[in-house]
């Protein structure tokens, strides 16, 4: 598409050209309003916190390799699992895919030069960073890290002397980052689509990111106000949840989960959107049931608001509430099922190219399905009474959050790394990591289903000797997992510097991101394109350059 006269001038990429006075150096990154640089800033910070959270996980598993004290005392263990949860959830999974890949690819995939509010976008990252720093401060300042679990349940969160207020203040600030990102993305999708980019020509990653943005806008304020109420209770004794003056601790749980359940859809929807990108590309076929998948994203976002109290079945709610929420919980499995069936139908009779992104998506489909099915077990009242607050729950959410969103975070990295950085990574190592991940993951987490079923409670520092064998297997799994993670990051970081140059379309994709250079130029497109094709119309490959192998 380049003008003949311009083949002499090599187009500068966004890595060489920026929005600040100098195009290189730290200031050109941390003050950049370029959505691509901001996406990479998020990638760097989120990856660091992921590694911190993962290390905490390894330490926790080390403690649990045997009953009794192994490497830390009980108080420290409580702080460890609280921190692990807070970091993984608020600093990794919730921002994760939207902040990194949403920021980088939303404008490109809709044919825009940037998001609607670029400066607000930069502010969102700064707010994220400030929230993260405050979370770290909460660990080291007097009082010690919070020991309440990441759910900060009343009344303990009001009574404990640890740094709860600081920790939840960090979460409050991080919530702002999330809300502002949501506002930016909704406005961008409504106002900045290229000519011809009708709603039903949008890639499915955009549909899911859009639905996610709405959850970020509507749900996050609820946790914000809940946090404020807890801080007011700790500081001024306002007593809104205090049972000694008529308050209801269960109301805290309601408010907490009214956000935190939709939050899990903030985590999974963008991941599902990416699956809908990767499967067509590596099946060289258009997606099956495009509209159904697009609408299912909106359906999941909405139904997600209706089910929160399935986290509270044993809390003391009314029986009517128990039954209603259990029923509604089963409903949310339906749109998810629509997606899984359509993905599989897409692959059927497709020309499968088992490159690393595709292998990682295969990981996702198995691991997320296990997680999702066990969610149904937990959603059934009778079984939940037995399994609530056991390792079964821990296994379930690690399968959906880590096996689901986490896996796709890696899949997206492998899919879009060549585009973002213009370098290829070692594909053999990447494929090997996918296999190693699958094995490590199941070693680490599958035993927890059995442990939970056998009665091992979660968040317990110590345990009965009969649980030892499975705990040991799980801990060994955590070592394999940690090595796998190091391998993943090592491969990518090495390739950042030494990787082979990547073409504009190494995989044969057809969405707008594959029509531009790797890495993209500062304003993404030489000219804003006029869109005439459906998003997964592979006949476009005839007119495109791509690596065909």
């Amino acid at each position: 598409m380049a003008n003949e006269n311009e083949t002499v001038l090599a187009e500068k990429s966004f890595l060489e050209e920026g929005t600040t006075k100098k195009a290189t150096g730290i200031a050109s990154w941390i003050f950049s309003t370029d959505h691509k640089r901001i996406g990479i800033l998020y990638l760097a910070s989120i990856s660091i916190f992921f590694l911190v959270g993962a290390t905490l996980g390894v330490l926790m598993r080390l403690e649990l390799i045997a009953p009794g004290r192994t490497i830390m005392d009980a108080q420290t263990y409580n702080q460890a699992f609280t921190l692990h949860g807070v970091i993984m959830i608020f600093l990794f999974i919730i921002p994760g895919i939207p902040a990194v890949f949403g920021n980088f690819f939303l404008p490109i995939q809709i044919g825009a030069k940037d998001v609607a509010f670029p400066r607000l976008n930069l502010l969102s990252w700064w707010i994220y960073l400030i929230g993260a720093i405050i979370a770290l401060v909460a660990i080291v300042s007097p009082g010690g890290a919070a020991d309440t679990g990441w759910t900060f349940y009343i009344p303990y969160s009001v009574r404990t002397g640890t740094n709860v207020s600081t920790a939840i203040m960090a979460a409050f600030i991080l919530g702002f980052s999330s809300m502002l990102t949501g506002i930016n993305f909704v406005t961008t999708v409504h106002r900045m689509r290229a000519p011809g980019m009708k709603w039903f020509r949008l890639p499915l990653f955009i549909w899911s990111t859009y639905a996610t943005a709405w959850i970020q806008i509507i749900a996050t304020p609820i946790i914000a106000i809940t946090i404020v109420l807890v801080i007011l209770e700790r500081l001024f004794g306002v007593g809104v949840f205090d049972p000694s003056i008529g308050g209801d601790p269960i109301l805290y749980q309601h408010l907490f989960w009214i956000y935190s359940h939709p939050a899990v859809y903030i985590m999974i929807l963008p991941a599902m959107g990416i699956v809908s990108e990767i499967i067509p590309t590596f099946s060289r076929r258009t997606i099956f049931g495009y509209k159904a998948i697009a609408m299912s994203s909106l359906a999941i976002a909405f139904v997600g608001y209706l089910v929160w109290a399935h986290h509270m079945f044993t809390s003391g709610m009314s029986e009517t509430a128990l039954v209603v929420f259990s029923l509604l919980t089963f409903l949310v499995a339906l749109p998810s099922g629509v997606k899984v069936f359509n993905w599989i139908a897409t692959m059927y009779k497709g020309s499968i190219d088992p490159k690393p992104p595709f292998l990682w998506v295969m990981n996702f489909i198995v691991l997320f399905s296990i997680g999702g099915l066990t969610g149904l077990v937990l959603g059934s009242l009778a079984t939940d009474i037995h399994l609530h607050d056991t390792y079964f729950v821990v296994a379930h959410f690690h399968y959906v959050m880590f096996g689901g969103t986490g896996t796709i975070f890696f899949a997206a990295l492998y899919y879009w790394f060549p585009k973002m950085f213009g370098k290829m990574y070692n594909m053999k190592i990447a494929s090997f990591s996918a296999a190693m991940f699958f094995i490590s993951f199941n070693l680490l987490y599958f035993p927890k289903f059995i442990l939970g079923y056998q009665g091992m409670p979660r968040r317990y520092y110590d345990y009965l000797p009969q649980f030892t064998d499975l705990q040991v297997i799980s801990t060994v799994g955590s070592w394999f997992m940690f090595v796998t993670i190091l391998l993943i990051f090592g491969n990518l970081i090495y390739s950042l510097f030494k990787g082979k140059k990547a073409s504009s379309n190494p995989w044969g994709g057809v969405t707008l991101d594959w029509h531009i250079a790797s890495p993209p130029p500062l304003e993404n497109f030489d000219e804003i394109p006029t869109v005439t094709h459906d998003p997964y119309d592979f006949s476009q490959l005839k007119e495109m350059e791509y690596d065909s192998k």
Binding site: K12, E17, I217, I218, G239, V240, G247
Partner: protein, 208 residues
């Protein structure tokens, strides 16, 4: 494309007033949900302690509450008039209306200050002995009263600062009849502050 540098690219930033307004409305929606959470807490406890809420509400001064309601509604009017004036290219009138809005807002906060200090001097505040000796419903009522009017008051102050900045920008001709989206958005924020009070007023002052 010639070798443009970054500074030249910035001239291409297009203006999208509808998009700007959309972003503001989405932010207002977050505020709606924020206060919505508080109203939910209120609703649960009023449902649980109906008579005690009624009892506690009698201690609030309905006259001051009504006055504050009228003040805030009028301030919404003056903000709307300010925007209309600027649209009609009357810069002077626009600023006058904003000044009036600020005066009303200040009056509101002064009234609030007197209300709160009266209560506090009577020993009614979160954690006080006097309050803790009362029934659970009354304690919760006042806890919510301070929390909700307090957070609302914070938003009034933020609104006042915002409108003051708009005033300066109008005077300096940074906001004009052709470019007044910031004023409109600030007005939207102010109306939200009014909307919240429209619900706070009957729920705290007019229970019976």
């Amino acid at each position: 494309m010639t070798q443009n540098n970054a500074a030249e690219h910035n001239h291409d930033i297009h203006r999208d007033d509808v998009g700007s307004k959309m972003g503001m409305w989405l932010f207002l929606i977050t505020e709606l949900l924020l206060f919505g959470g508080l109203f939910l807490v209120y609703a649960v406890y009023r449902f649980t302690f109906p008579e005690q809420f009624s009892l506690a509400a009698m201690e609030l001064n309905t006259t001051v509450g009504t006055l504050n309601t009228i003040i805030l509604l009028t301030s919404s009017l003056t903000v709307a008039l300010s925007i209309a004036a600027l649209q009609k290219k009357n810069k002077f009138l626009s600023v006058i209306f904003l000044v009036l809005t600020e005066i009303f807002a200040l009056e509101f906060m002064v009234n609030k200050y007197f209300e709160w200090s009266a209560k506090i001097s009577h020993g009614i505040y979160p954690g006080s002995e006097e309050l803790l000796n009362r029934s659970d419903g009354e304690i919760l009522f006042f806890g919510l009263y301070y929390t909700m009017t307090g957070i609302h008051g914070l938003h009034v102050i933020i609104g006042m600062v915002l409108l003051f900045i708009m005033m300066i920008l109008i005077i300096k001709n940074k906001i004009t009849s052709d470019n007044l989206i910031s004023l409109e958005n600030s007005g939207l924020y102010w109306h939200l502050v009014d909307l919240i009070w429209i619900f706070l007023f009957p729920l705290f002052y007019l229970i019976n």
